[in-house]
């Protein structure tokens, strides 16, 4: 079991580990850039308005999966991201960083395992972006006390989050990945190899 876990980690190359680290770092940068907006939305609109930008926080792990296309890519990227957030301080607490990373990874990894890491169409990405939302929403509802709100507010919040996940995570990741696919930056990764084989 331990050996299997070890080889699972070692199947990812050093370049891919660095890519995952840098994506986690860029997520922190983007989070800090939109942090004032996020706090403003939370303070003035509670869970509903905050949910409009939830998708942005989920992009980095899905983008890692889109570029690397190997088991564990999203899991490790979200894990590195959570660790990084704890080290530099996270506005919603350490538990939220850990729980969010776990909830996202638990959804993304099995879906792409079922697709054998080969299907990354628009439909798949929009679907994954949407499916990543509900589990974390339920966990967050208990963590931040959203359960005290009226059911109709919770339902609206969930719908807004799903739309945000679909557009700001699924669609944005697909768009970003496709923009990068032809560039030299992703040449050593699966997405770069795929792009080259399509051109040939």
């Amino acid at each position: 079991m331990r050996q299997a876990g070890k080889s699972f980690i070692q199947s990812i190359t050093i370049t891919e580990w660095v890519l995952m680290a840098l994506l986690a770092a860029s997520n922190s940068v983007l989070s800090s850039l939109i942090s004032p907006l996020s706090k403003l939305l939370t303070a003035w609109g509670g869970p509903i308005l905050t949910s409009t930008i939830t998708g942005v926080y989920m992009v980095y792990g899905l983008l890692a999966m889109y570029i690397i296309r190997k088991p564990g890519a999203a899991l490790f990227t979200y894990a590195i991201g959570a660790l990084l957030q704890i080290m530099i301080g996270v506005a919603y607490g350490a538990w939220s960083a850990i729980a969010a990373a776990a909830c996202y990874a638990v959804i993304v990894e099995p879906i792409f395992y079922l697709y054998r890491y080969k299907k990354f169409s628009w439909v798949t990405m929009l679907l994954v972006g949407t499916l990543m939302v509900p589990l974390w929403f339920v966990v967050a509802a208990f963590m931040f006390g959203y359960t005290k709100y009226a059911p109709v507010i919770l339902l609206i919040t969930l719908i807004v989050r799903c739309i945000s996940g679909m557009l700001l995570c699924g669609a944005l990741t697909k768009w970003l990945g496709d923009q990068l696919a032809g560039t030299r930056y992703v040449r050593p990764f699966a997405i770069g190899r795929d792009a080259r084989s399509k051109q040939a």
Binding site: I9, V18, M20, L22, A25, S26, K39, L83, A94, W95
Partner: protein, 256 residues
Amino acid sequence: MANTGKNGTRLRAWLHTIDPLTKGIWLLSTGLAVMMTMSLAGQAAWFGSVLLLGWTGGDWSSRQWKLLAIWLLSFGIPLIVFQWLVLPGETPILASLTGKLLTEEALRDSVSLTLRSMTLMASSIVYATTTEPRDVVAALTGRLRVPDRIAYAAAIALRFVPLLLAEAEQMRHAQRLRRMAPARGIGERLRSARQLLLAVTQTALRHVHVVSTSMEAKRFGQGGQRTQWRKLPIPPLGIGLAAVSIGTAATSLYWL
């Protein structure tokens, strides 16, 4: 709370001398306790305890305290008002003026939930400002046996946050200069945000090759067990803090 010793040398406040693991136990126990507690008194006590820890052990300057206060108030007060308006309740306050809109129960729940959010935020800031990131990496690899690749990937990510942040600021500035005017309207702002996002991602990817080449040149991950130059002792004070945190959290979960 900047302390100085007899010969004028700067003394580190007590939270800085504790290892990241036992402090991490405090952080997670506090988080768990506030998330499981709904009582207003319990939330207020936990929030007070975090501020007390930050005050006695955080070594924060008055400017840092001011920033924290502004941050907490600008977030907390509007959130209390918002939640007071939307949370359900039975006993009206100022019924002649507001009818059943403002209730006692909603106010209590609103303050309680806001204190919960503020405690989570403040405890995370206390941890981050009193902990050396390289100590976290040393604790992960040395004590928790986390694989080197994960721990060092987190260290790399941490190293690049300020660099990428500075580059993102530069790009934003360049975007503004190129247009000679700030972005107006939703369409223009979205286009600008999209360009910035792509540029930040491309910059991060550009660094990937430089870092991974140098790591491969140093044969990272190729040899056997990595040796640790930095030893991380767990002081009795840390063990005490962890034990008190677990005990208080358990008591809080039982009583509050």
